[in-house]
């Protein structure tokens, strides 16, 4: 991982703003800033990043992964070290919950594809050690004292928790106060929160006159209760999606659900099946599955969303 020498204080740490970054929004930049480093993030996804990523990743990989490589490439040269997390095991109780294989192998994969990048890898494997120990170890490897690393992590975590608490559960766009119905959005945070990858889906829905409820903005307690009602799955992030699907299917006032997934997402094919037959069952709430890849066209997406919303409108009018 590190070549043995400690990382100087004036070194710049780059953080790719893709994949798991969207789940830990702000935690990692704050942690490194607390340690006294200068941090650059790769910014939003754009055409150049995505194209660069697509060119070098194996063609079978999923869209977010290709996008991640693009972000890493954009940081090469701008940052001295690139921070890449490895999410192996994220929960041990009541059952073991793992990251997807692509998240488990991420640093190794980047190392093989971008040999010129200096990588700072963080392994989170709760089967071996708790989260704090992992962060403290990383800090120590970078040449900081145990105490400093611990302090940096704790205050970053507190910050992260505070910000998470303050995010609105329901996003109401200003110009859209009189929108008639609410659409639940399901999918990985790195698809839903990356407006370039999902072709600005949220805005398209807002423009067509509907609210969206992001499954990652739901309150933790709500998800927790839903989690008790579903058959467990050993992928950490998929479990969240299924719990959220359970919430949406049983909540009052949700008129439709859109499930976003990327082509080549292995877990997605199972998750969709589980949502369809274990959560959904006899429920008749309209459900739209959108599979994204790098060839998805904006017009095609627009047509599907419009017809979905028109169908919901018709349905609402017919049932008083």
């Amino acid at each position: 991982m590190l070549s043995g020498d400690h990382i100087m204080n004036d070194y710049i740490i780059g953080i790719p703003q893709a994949l798991s970054y969207h789940y830990y929004r702000g935690l990692w930049p704050t942690y490194f800033e607390n340690l006294g480093y200068h941090v650059v993030t790769s910014g939003r996804t754009d055409r150049n990043k995505l194209d660069a990523g697509i060119k070098m990743t194996p063609s079978e990989a999923c869209l977010p992964l290709k996008c991640y490589l693009g972000h890493v490439l954009s940081l090469v040269g701008r940052a001295d070290y690139i921070f890449i997390p490895r999410l192996v095991c994220l929960k041990t109780h009541p059952g073991i919950r793992l990251g997807c294989p692509k998240l488990i192998g991420l640093p190794d994969m980047v190392k093989a594809l971008v040999p010129e990048a200096k990588i700072l890898a963080l392994n989170i494997d709760l089967r071996e050690e708790d989260e704090e120990t992992s962060y403290v170890k990383l800090g120590q490897e970078m040449g900081k004292s145990e105490h400093a690393a611990q302090h940096a992590f704790r205050s970053a975590l507190a910050d992260f928790a505070k910000r998470k608490k303050n995010t609105p559960t329901e996003m109401r766009p200003k110009d859209n106060r009189n929108a008639k119905f609410k659409i639940g959005l399901l999918g990985h945070a790195y698809l839903i929160n990356d407006d370039y990858l999902n072709l600005d889906l949220k805005k398209k829905i807002h423009d067509s006159g509907a609210h969206t409820i992001n499954c990652h903005d739901l309150r933790e307690e709500v998800i927790k209760t839903a989690r008790e009602n579903i058959n467990p799955l050993s992928w950490y992030f998929e479990e969240h999606i299924i719990s959220a699907a359970h919430v949406f299917h049983n909540a009052e006032g949700i008129s439709g659900i859109i499930y976003l997934l990327s082509f080549g997402c292995g877990a997605g094919s199972i998750t969709h099946e589980v949502i369809d037959y274990e959560v959904r069952r006899e429920n008749t709430i309209p459900f739209l599955k959108i599979v994204l890849d790098e060839h998805t066209g904006e017009t095609g997406l627009m047509t599907r969303i419009e017809s979905f919303l028109d169908m919901i409108k018709l349905k609402e009018e017919q049932t008083p």
């Binding site: 294989p101 093989a112 050993s234 292995g266 997605g268 094919s269 099946e273």
Partner: protein
């Protein structure tokens, strides 16, 4: 209890023997074929991987033949989709109107499995234990014999003088092993197999190319999905060695017994660790280790098989390429799905083999020249 389970190479010989001794009746579907694959593809989720579709077809076939219990191997806390095969396949088959009960090895609570075994053996502990031991011994010996016959066939096939002799002998012994139920005779058969295979006339001076097959376990083991790559290349004078066989797979996943004596799991992990730190769910770490192992053992090339969109193998793909460059061993990656045609795969494999031949010959010339100088 009529029990059905998936096909995977010659898995049915060993597993069938064990289950029969426990008092089950084996009702398997036909071996994977075009028709069973079509059924699997029709009912499986669209984006799921190929082994799911093929095994779903197997299960469908078993139920059609009257199985009332399905056995699923694997499951539980896996990061790969393989862990969910049983759960999703059961739900699909139940929706199709089949009535059956299911057993998940590795996931099911042990209590209910044990009580089921007891029930099959007229609720007597001693009979159950005796049958289990006997079944296990027979299954183990059969599995080992199949493994031995297969490995001898792989080794000798490229060098045989009369084409097809090895395959004929192999299928003869597979039948014989399947129909033999006495441990003592099975033990005796061991020497007989060795003798018969060594009596096959071989080209003495011919040195076949050696290729290691790595990748996803089902694609490596099941001849239907990899278009019988071992026999195909064997008949063209190439010795193909898979990194995993049905025997090793079964006893590792069911009982954690490592049956490969050339490379232990621990050593393999250590070998792959610099390139691939964690096992991502499938056989990815092991595959990388075997790629390195093959290079060290002087193999001529590596073929990497995986189903299209396989999670762990796709993630590991760049690492395979890195390892192949670093250890200077040519690598061919083939991703398989229901649309893969045998002709396309055949062309790619033949081109790869031609390259390997050329590479070896030019190396030999270089070595000769340096000796002469």
């Amino acid at each position: 209890m009529k029990i059905g389970f998936q096909h995977m190479g010659n898995l049915n010989i060993a597993l069938g023997a064990l289950l029969e001794n426990l008092g089950c009746e084996i009702t398997q579907g036909p071996r994977p074929n075009k028709k069973s694959l079509d059924i699997g593809v029709r009912h499986a989720p669209e984006l799921v991987c190929l082994p799911f579709k093929v095994t779903l077809g197997d299960m469908f076939g078993a139920l059609e033949r009257g199985a009332d219990t399905l056995l699923f191997i694997g499951g539980g806390d896996w990061s790969c989709r393989y862990g969910y095969y049983g759960r999703i396949q059961c739900s699909i088959l139940r929706r199709l109107g089949f009535r059956f009960s299911s057993i998940f090895i590795g996931q099911h609570d042990k209590k209910s499995v044990i009580s089921e075994i007891l029930h099959l053996n007229s609720n007597s502990w001693t009979t159950a234990l005796g049958n289990w031991t006997r079944g296990f011994a027979i299954g183990w010996h059969k599995s080992k014999l199949v493994d031995l016959a297969e490995s001898l066939a792989r080794m000798i096939r490229p060098r045989e003088v009369r084409k097809g002799e090895c395959s004929r002998l192999l299928s003869k012994y597979l039948r014989k092993i399947e129909n033999e139920y006495r441990v003592l005779r099975l033990r005796r058969m061991r020497r007989q197999i060795r003798e018969d295979f060594s009596s096959i006339e071989q080209k003495d001076s011919f040195m076949p190319l050696r290729i290691e097959v790595v990748g996803e376990s089902y694609c490596v083991i099941e001849p239907f999905v990899n278009f019988d790559i071992i026999e195909y290349l064997g008949n063209r004078g190439v010795h193909v060695e898979p990194f995993l066989t049905a025997h090793r797979w079964l006893f590792y996943h069911a009982l954690r017994i490592n049956e490969d004596h050339s490379l232990s799991r621990r050593v393999a992990k250590e070998m792959a660790r610099p390139f691939w730190t964690y096992n991502a769910g499938g056989e990815d770490q092991l595959s990388i280790a075997y790629t390195i192992h093959a290079a060290k053992q002087g193999f001529d090339g590596v073929i990497h098989l995986m189903p299209f969109s396989c999670m762990p193998e796709t993630a590991a793909l760049p690492v395979f390429e890195k390892v192949s460059k670093m250890y200077e061993i040519p690598l061919l990656n083939l991703s398989l799905d229901e649309h893969t045609s045998p002709t396309g795969i055949g062309t790619r494999i033949e081109a790869f083999v031609d390259l390997l031949k050329y590479r070896r010959d030019s190396r030999n010339i270089r070595v000769k020249e340096s000796h002469e100088n």
